[in-house]
Symmetry: C3
């Protein structure tokens, strides 16, 4: 599978700089590309690599191509254009339509003839797998679920119950959607005996909009009464935890190991950094960025960037600063007293 | 399935306020409930919603019902009472007793005739599945395990080896119990060669008490020599990590993504917040609350609430505060010198 | 299975102190060992337990054995020697060579006759399972993967595609290697319409060196263009997240729930504490220790210990200190002004 610069330009709606007949058969970074590979220059930091790159064709901005001796494809957004180009070189076997002989499909479930259900998959009562959907090996789709048209459960995904995926949703291995939300009431016996936890039934579901992506080993619990909701084009990385009744707005992206506690609402076009946490019952407005490992402890009503934590330090220096942190209030009080004296 | 107020009152041991013949066929929040649904008022914050709620019956405290025109069920603890009521409306297919034709059960394993073993499940050598237990689809129960009476492995759960679950334990999909603890010795060759990691055998097991719940993708390693232990009624949310030889006291609840390192001991009735961490070889006494994303770095001997971290700030302001954190010790030293002069 | 002190000494290359005919049939901690069990004393903190221990044989340093009345095995590194001894007592059924009747192996895959492929396992196109390797129950090995000689996928492990494991690699249940890296370009339509995420194809793979161990529910994404790489003898605990194009140096160990964002490079012999995070595109040199729940926000070029965060405090005191943290910059500015006046 190879393409000329002119062919790529035509497919991607870009202009060619240099030789329209230059051909490439794969993609690579600027540093590693060979003359038969396509690369890209998006971040100005890598401009220095362009001169020494052996890449046969490079996707870049028009201004970067000015002095470039090689062949380029000119794009307003080189990274997005490269993403589209790279997809042309991604060879993946298409999953053949049909249900594997080993799969266990409940009599009341509906699997579209154009869908693929792989080995050792289970489809539960009243669930629906729509046209072009893929349920990979070892997936468990419980009761009352929908796998929308063109969606893919890669492998070993679990939809526990009442999980409705839109179209073109991609769920990576080990993800668990629709498990019981963590709902507990501490039940104190009237006789003064030891309190025990009482499980609160989780009667809601999970609704995932079109074009969402859900990372490996990510968990999204179903709602207690209403549903847990991901609007369209939400992108979740690996090992993210989404509690019951959370709502995540369209086009929001969350990095690995972040977590949102129950009933929090996150707006549209938010970026939640890796390992960041959002407490329950909060609201975060649109276009908020939370930096890595920060904890959101109150609602956020203004777009912008938010952080918590302290900077990384040499451990010896950190120990001193950490000890001083404990003394901070006393210091302020002492200085406040001084300050009063000074007016 | 519907119930009158009088029927619910009888089943739950509550008093009726208003119309004992009012009927409901489901449950919902105050904001969304229709006249055929049951709701509840537990948190005084939602009292304002009561007036406008269309709910047919509302579980509430007696004092909240005083001026209430509709039908109410009066409870000392409305949330717990609602949890019990909601369970009446939860329709779940009972798992039929028996072993699915596809399941692989070792000849030395014992499966009670009243237990359910689902498709693609494996039961290993010498393991026991007791009466009324459910081993869901795709679960792997290794060697020398016990799934106690009435316990449920929802789907795709792994008990690696020597895992003994008590009665009525509920384990959500993707959880892994009894994997090797993370035990390593750095082996320095006598000849001065490069040190390499040497794996320390993990010869203990995992013991889980009655009525515990273990969340999706949570991991609990087996002990190195002794067992890792969860006492009864411990409640673990999703994606929690419990290291080898940890002991967690009865009725303790841990929120999502929290973690406990090896050989730590946590008391009874503790609440560990989301994303919080507990270092190894520590002891936390009974009735300790650790707030979200805090790190417990030393033993805790007094009940109470504990925290670490810094508050969420606008990123620009945070950067300044964070830079100042690094200068804290210097500031204190300078001020200390000043303070000395002032007596 | 039991051994005399002399037999153990011979096998492990140690000297005997006391009775060479003392026999043990198992291992335990100093506190719990019976006269028929072997124990060890490595940490001086436990020296007091030695006097009261009933252990039949204890592995210890020569200097600790001086006044010891019982039988000891003398080792330069008692913990490593004990690890070797304990392995002698670990009885595990060997996995029989062969492919389970239920497994689904692609016609183009190669499974060595000496390998074991368990129930409900899938081996994808062009993948190779080498001699002595074990693919446990419910594992999914996708396309173009290698499970090297003597490696073990314990159960329910997923290798998505282009994952190449070296020899003697041990992967615990629920781990997912080779899922799509989290590569997204925000695609802004030229017509000013709403931007949407565009998926960047992930064309690289994952390469795991010999003797690595990968914990339960850990995730390692495959690279975007180049590979994600773990060098030999890397040890990853449970629930670790490794982003695309990360490189982790030989003999580095990472504790549970730590995470490394895309394209970061970690050196050799590093120790990454539990829940710690490493931002993307950074470099950490050899022999760096990062303490638990710290966030590495910049490259580290000097070996040593590094930390971030604040110490655990009583919540009431913490609230005051946290409020003061927000006022830090103002305080410094005020004091700076004072300082200027004082020269």
């Amino acid at each position: 599978m190879d393409f000329s610069a002119a062919q790529l330009a035509g497919r991607l709606g870009l202009a060619v700089h240099g030789d329209p007949d230059a051909r490439v058969s794969g993609v690579a970074t600027l540093a590693r590309a060979t003359p038969s590979q396509l690369s890209f220059l998006a971040n100005p930091r890598y401009r220095a690599q362009l001169a020494s790159s052996r890449a046969g064709i490079v996707v870049m901005r028009e201004e970067d191509a000015a002095g470039h001796a090689g062949t380029a494809l000119l794009a307003r957004d080189p990274y997005a254009a490269f993403a589209r180009a790279a997809a042309l070189f991604e060879s993946r076997e298409a999953a053949a339509p049909g249900v594997h002989a080993s799969a266990v499909v409940d009599a009341s479930a509906t699997v579209d003839p154009g869908a693929h259900v792989g080995p050792f998959a289970c489809i539960g009562a009243r669930s629906v797998v729509e046209a072009g959907a893929i349920v990979g090996p070892g997936c468990v789709v419980g009761e009352d679920c929908v796998v929308g048209a063109g969606s893919e459960l890669v492998a070993r995904v679990t939809l526990v119950r009442r999980v409705r995926l839109g179209r073109r949703v991609l769920v990576h291995p080990g993800a668990v959607l629709g498990a019981d939300g963590f709902g507990l009431a501490l039940d104190r016996p009237a006789d003064g005996g030891e309190p025990r936890w009482l499980k609160v039934p989780q009667l809601g579901g999970v609704v995932v909009g079109d074009d969402c992506e859900i990372g490996a080993n990510t968990t999204i619990d179903r709602g207690a009464l209403d549903d847990t909701v991901l609007e369209e084009d939400v992108r979740l990385d690996n090992q993210i935890q989404v509690g019951h009744n959370v709502r995540i707005g369209a086009h929001t992206a969350m990095a690995g190991c972040s977590a949102v506690a129950g009933s929090a609402t996150i707006g549209r076009y938010c970026l939640i950094g890796g390992g960041a946490g959002v407490l329950g019952h909060l609201e975060i407005c649109d276009r908020v960025t939370v930096t890595a490992m920060s904890l959101v402890t109150h609602s956020i009503r203004e777009p912008g960037d938010y952080s918590s934590g302290t900077p990384l330090m040499d451990n010896r220096a950190w120990r001193k600063a950490a000890a001083r942190f404990k003394q901070l209030d006393g210091l302020f009080r002492r200085l406040g007293a001084l300050g009063d004296n000074r007016g």
